[in-house]
Amino acid sequence: MNDFYINGAGVISPQKTYDDQTFLSEITEYADNVLTCVLPNFKDYIHPFQLRRLSRMLRIGLAAAVICLRQAQVQTPDAIITSTGSGFQDDTAKFLSEILTQDEQQLTPTFFMQSTYNAMAGLIALSVRCRGYNNTHVGRGFAFESALDDAMMLLHERNAQNVLVGSFDEVSPVQYNQYARMGYFKKESVCNLDLFDTQTSGTLQGEGTAFFVLSSAPEPHTLCRLRNVRMVYKPTDYRELANALDDYLSQNQLEHADIDVFINGISGDNARDHWNMAIRQDRMKSATEVRFKHLTGEYATASSFALWLGAMILKTQQIPDAVLVKPAVLPATMNTVLICNHFLSRNYSFMLLERATTSC
C-alpha cells in the first residue's frame, strides 16, 4: 500500500483549536453536559455574501476546510470526502418543527436544502471549485473512518494526489433527549474536565469538525504519516477486539511496545469504556496514554479530533497537559501513535500514525 501523509488540518471543536499558533494551551470548561464549539471569526475564512445563508454547522465546516487547505497550501484538492454521524440536526429539526406546527405550510426551503447530508461536501466543492470525486459517509461511529478509507483508496488508485477529508457533527436537543433516555448521557451534572473521575454510566454530548488534506507525497509542512485504519463492528467479546488489534498491529509490522502514544477514545462512560481500558492494561501499558473526550464531548465522528491530536503530537513532539494521563513518562521522541476509539461501544476503530521523517 502507498504512503499517506497528513499535509494540513483544520479543526473547530469545543476547545480553541482553529488557530494553529497554540496547541490546547487554553482550555474551556463546560458545566452543563453539553460541549459546543469555540468559534473563529467566520469572516476570516468565508466571503460575507456567502455567509448570509449558511447555517452554523455549514459555517463551522467550511471554515475548518479553508483553514485546512491553507495550512496544506492546496488551493483546490482533487477530491472532497466528508463524514457525519447525524448530519445537520439543527436545520432538520427546524424544518421538521415547521412541518408539524404549521401544518406543512409556508416552509423554509433553505432549512431543507441545508439539511441534506452532503450539503457540506457540495458547499466546499463549490467554494474551492473542486470538480473531482465527491462523497459523504454517514455510517454512525464509522463515518469518519470510512471517509479515510475512501480517501486512502483514491490515493492508492492514483485518482488523486490531495484529498480533502473531514468530519462534522453538531449537538442537538432532539438527539440529547433520546440519548439521555437510552442511558448514553450522564444523568448527573458533570464538569467536562472531571469526566474521567466519574464512576457512572453515560457521557457528555459534544460536537466538532475536523478536516485534513491527505496526500500521496510529503511536504515540508507535513504533520505526520497515516498508516491505515481498521474498524471493528460490535465485537462479540473482548477477545475479538483484542485479537483484531493484534492482527492490525502485526499487519503493520508493529509490536505492542512499539507504540509510543496511545490515544484512548474512552468517553467517561463506565458502562461502555471497559474494553478500551482493558486494551490499555494488557496491551498498551508501555505507551504514554492520552485522552480527549473530556475536551470535546462524545459524537459519532469524534475520532477525527483524535487524529488531529495524534498528528499534532507527532509534529510538535509535545503532549499538552490537558490530554496527558498522569502519572506519565514522556518518551524522548514520539514516533508512533495508536488511536483506539469507540462510539457507544458499538463502533470500535484503530488508526496508526507515524512521525514524518525530517528528510522528506
Binding site: 406543512e104 462523497n135 463492528y233
Partner: protein, 403 residues
C-alpha cells in the same frame, strides 16, 4: 493488479412491484406506480401525487419477516425486503452472507418515524410503543440494523449524497473489491417517503403535480417515489473459485462534481458529461460500444436539459437508445441509483429496453428523443446508468453483459 467486479444477484421493491419479477412485468407492460398517496399521511395528499409502495408498515413487516414491535423504520423494512431478495438471487449461503461487506445508502433514514413520534420522543415522561424508534432517525441506523440481522460485520458503511447515494454506494463497493478490502459486498440503498421529503421538494418548486415527463419539452418537474434495491458484487477470483457466473461486469464508474450550484446542475451538463466520459475511459470502451443509457431523467427543467446536452455532446446527434424509468417508480432519490442499476441488470438479462413514459416532444435546445416503446431483442451488451444529485454530484456506472 486491481480485480474485476461482477454483479451476481439483485433485489428490488418499488411502487411498481414488491420484487424483481413484479417490477419487470410492470416495466414491459408500461404500468406506472404514480398516484395518490394512500399510506403516507400528509395534508398534500390531494395535490401532490407520487409513486408510493402501496403497503402499510405492518404489511412490510410481514413481507420482511419481522415484527412491528421491533422498531424497524420504513426505510429499513424496504431495505430488508430488497436485501433478502438480492441474497437469494445470488444464491448466497448464510456463511457467504456473514462474510459479505455491506454498503447501504439513504438520505431519509428514519425521518418518517421521527416526524411521526417527534413530540413523544422528546418527552422523557411519556412511554409507549414509539420507544422502539428511539435513535433510529440517522441514516446509518438501517445499515447497522440489517448488518446485525444478517451478521454482516466484515465491512459496513453508509453513504448519503442525495439523489446519487445508491450509485455511490455501488461504486464504493466495487472499489472495496478492486482494492482487495473485501471479496464480496452487497450495495444499494433505501428510501421511504416522508413529510420531510414531500414538503422539502415542494418548497424547491420542482414537483410536477401531474405525471412527470422526462426529456419532454413541456416537462414540469419530478414525481417522488420510494423503494429499495440491492446488488451483490463479487470479485472475479471468488466467482472462479465457486464456479459461478455473473450477470454483468461493472466495468466502469466515475464520480465527479460540477461545482456549479447548491441544488442545480450546470446548465451545459459539464458534470454529467465528465462522469459518463470517465466511466467510458475506465472501461476502455468507446461511445459506439454503448447500447443503452438509463438516464437520471428526473423531469425537472434543469436536470433533463443538462443531461440531454451532456448526452448529445458525448454521443452526437444520434445517441444510443436512452430512457428515464422515473415515470414508473418516481424519483426514489437515494434509492434511485440502486433501483435503476437493477433495471439495467433486467435489461441485459432479457435483452429488453424499457421506455421513457409520457414523452411527446423533444426539448428544443437538444432535439434528442428517448426510447418510447418496449424494445425486445435490443442487442444489449454495454449500458450506462446515470445519477446526479444536490450538491453537484454526478456518478455514472457502466455495466457489460456477461456472455
Amino acid at each position: 493488479m486491481s480485480r474485476r467486479v461482477f454483479i451476481t444477484g439483485y433485489g428490488v421493491i418499488s411502487a411498481i412491484g414488491r420484487n424483481a419479477a413484479e417490477n419487470y412485468q410492470s416495466l414491459i407492460q408500461k404500468k406506472s406506480g404514480f398516484g395518490r398517496l394512500d399510506v403516507l399521511t400528509t395534508v398534500h395528499r390531494d395535490t401532490i401525487f407520487a409513486c408510493e409502495v402501496k403497503q402499510t408498515d405492518h404489511n412490510l413487516c410481514d413481507m420482511a419477516g419481522v415484527s412491528i414491535s421491533e422498531g424497524y423504520t420504513r426505510t429499513a423494512l424496504l431495505a430488508l425486503i430488497a436485501l433478502r431478495e438480492a441474497i437469494g438471487s445470488a444464491s448466497l449461503t448464510e456463511n457467504d452472507v456473514s462474510d459479505c461487506g455491506f454498503i447501504s445508502a439513504t438520505t431519509a433514514g428514519g425521518i418518517r418515524e421521527l416526524e411521526t413520534h417527534y413530540d413523544d420522543l422528546q418527552n422523557p415522561q411519556k412511554t409507549g410503543d414509539f420507544l422502539a424508534y428511539l435513535d433510529t432517525a440517522d441514516p446509518g441506523e438501517h445499515t447497522e440494523r440489517l448488518a446485525d440481522l444478517f451478521q454482516m460485520r466484515r465491512y459496513i458503511g453508509t453513504v448519503s449524497t442525495a439523489c446519487s447515494s445508491s450509485t455511490n454506494a455501488i461504486m464504493l463497493g466495487a472499489r472495496l473489491i478492486a482494492n482487495r478490502v473485501v471479496d464480496r459486498i452487497i450495495c444499494g440503498g433505501s428510501e421511504a417517503l416522508s413529510k420531510v421529503t414531500i414538503n422539502g421538494f415542494n418548497t424547491l418548486m420542482i414537483l410536477d403535480k401531474g405525471h412527470c415527463r422526462p426529456f419532454d419539452e413541456n416537462r414540469n418537474g419530478l414525481n417522488l417515489g420510494e423503494g429499495a434495491a440491492y446488488l451483490v458484487l463479487e470479485s472475479d477470483e471468488i466467482l472462479k473459485q465457486s464456479r459461478r457466473s455473473g450477470i454483468a461486469e461493472l466495468r466502469g464508474y466515475a464520480n465527479v462534481n460540477d461545482a456549479f450550484h447548491q441544488t442545480a446542475s450546470s446548465p451545459d451538463g459539464a458534470g454529467a458529461y465528465t462522469a459518463m466520459e470517465q466511466a467510458l475511459a475506465m472501461s476502455g470502451l468507446g461511445v459506439a460500444d454503448i447500447d443503452y443509457i438509463n438516464a437520471h431523467g428526473t423531469g425537472t427543467g434543469n436536470n433533463d436539459l443538462a443531461e440531454g446536452l451532456a448526452i448529445k455532446t458525448l454521443f452526437g446527434h444520434q445517441p444510443p437508445p436512452f430512457s428515464s424509468t422515473k415515470p414508473y417508480t418516481g424519483h426514489t432519490t437515494s434509492a434511485a441509483g440502486g433501483v435503476e442499476a437493477v433495471f439495467c441488470m433486467m435489461a441485459l438479462q432479457h435483452d429488453t429496453l424499457f421506455p421513457n413514459l409520457n414523452f411527446m416532444e423533444p426539448m428544443k435546445e437538444v432535439g434528442i428523443k428517448p426510447v418510447t416503446e418496449v424494445r425486445q431483442q435490443a442487442g444489449l451488451k454495454n449500458i450506462l446508468s446515470n445519477s446526479f444529485g444536490f450538491g453537484g454530484g454526478a456518478t455514472t456506472l457502466l455495466f457489460s453483459k456477461c456472455l
